[in-house]
């Protein structure tokens, strides 16, 4: 099915829950109301004409400069049966973003949703094991949000380099000691 037919099918089934649409792009997408995403996911996987049996990617995106500012979760879908692709998007508020999990439809979403939670703090309600996947368990904050500011320390280790560290590295270079000290063995052979 082409993107237009997929959109018509979704619009016929879910009506105004399909809030926005863009079909004249490389990867056509629709915007789905956040509370409906689990039902839409189950529908597009089960429907014999759509049969999106593969969730290729689930990503979070932060748009603080949009009006109103928003967070997005993007689902890239693929069908091994019909060999077509489609994209679902969900708009969320930047304060306490939350939406239902699609883990019940595509089990691969388990790790993807944990990653979106890890980096953006998006809460997937109903997720079986929602905890950080890449960052340490005791990490505080959501580092891929655009308003992220590096902490001074993490467990006693400096995160932001100080002026002193910068000067030490450069001074080492000047006297040929430290991180930048290296002359290949044959470099001055001809001099």
């Amino acid at each position: 099915m082409d993107a237009k037919a997929i959109h018509e099918k979704l619009a016929a089934r879910f009506g105004e829950k399909i809030a926005g649409v863009s079909l004249e792009v490389l990867e056509p997408w629709v915007v789905v109301a956040s509370e409906t995403i689990a039902e839409v996911a189950a529908f597009v996987k089960a429907d014999p004409d759509l049969r999106f049996d593969n969730l290729m990617c689930l990503s979070g995106v932060d748009y603080p400069k949009e009006k109103p500012p928003r967070m997005e979760v993007v689902y890239h879908l693929y069908s091994y049966t019909h060999l077509h692709t489609f994209v679902l998007k969900v708009h969320l508020p930047r304060e306490d973003p939350a939406l239902p999990t699609v883990e019940g439809t595509w089990s691969v979403a388990n790790w993807h949703e944990r990653e979106a939670y890890d980096m953006f703090g998006v809460v997937f309600t109903g997720h079986s094991d929602l905890r950080r996947i890449l960052l340490p368990d005791d990490w505080e904050g959501w580092p891929l949000r655009k308003d992220w500011v590096d902490p001074e320390f993490y467990n006693g280790m400096r995160v932001k380099p100080t002026q002193q560290m910068m000067e030490r590295a450069l001074a080492g270079e000047a006297i040929g000691v430290g991180p930048f000290d290296f002359t290949p063995p044959n470099r001055h052979a001809g001099e």
């Binding site: 467990n155 380099p161 560290m165 590295a169 000691v177 991180p179 930048f180 000290d181």
Partner: protein, 180 residues
Amino acid sequence: MAPITGIIQNKFPDAVVFTTVDQVVNWARKSSMWPMTFGLACCAIEMMAAGGTRYDWDRFGLIPRGTPRQSDLMIVAGTVTLKMATRVKRLFEQMAEPKYVISMGSCANNGGPYWKYGYHVLKGVDEVIPVDVYVPGCPPRPEALLYGIMKLQERIQEDRVLRRHPESVGSLTGATLENR
């Protein structure tokens, strides 16, 4: 006991060889630096190449070990994330003395490309463990790593085991043993 055979058999007169204990100990140490099998990022690929047949660090006496208890050398090859830094420190502490550290590549030296925006990267592994030799590059070629290993061997050869400490030791940094 089976007789010793070979081209040097029975070729030498009775003789005595003089050397210092330090010389022998340092020669043994620098000729059998066993590194820990341990890679963190793309630098580890170059490290593997240095250990492979083409560059063959076995000729320097480097035999990778699977445990810190048997290792003399830690080659920190790659990006040290904050999450990994605690593990790196623990592995270093589990190694037996004498132990040496080579920091390989820009990331391990000072954070490299993550210097400014790497919220998750330690800005130089020398923030958590003492480093003997820094090998710059992104990543360094195997020749560069071998050069770093030879520099470390030079340094070990100058080390003092029985002899009293002079004002400074070490050909690379002039650091004293106490503050190394």
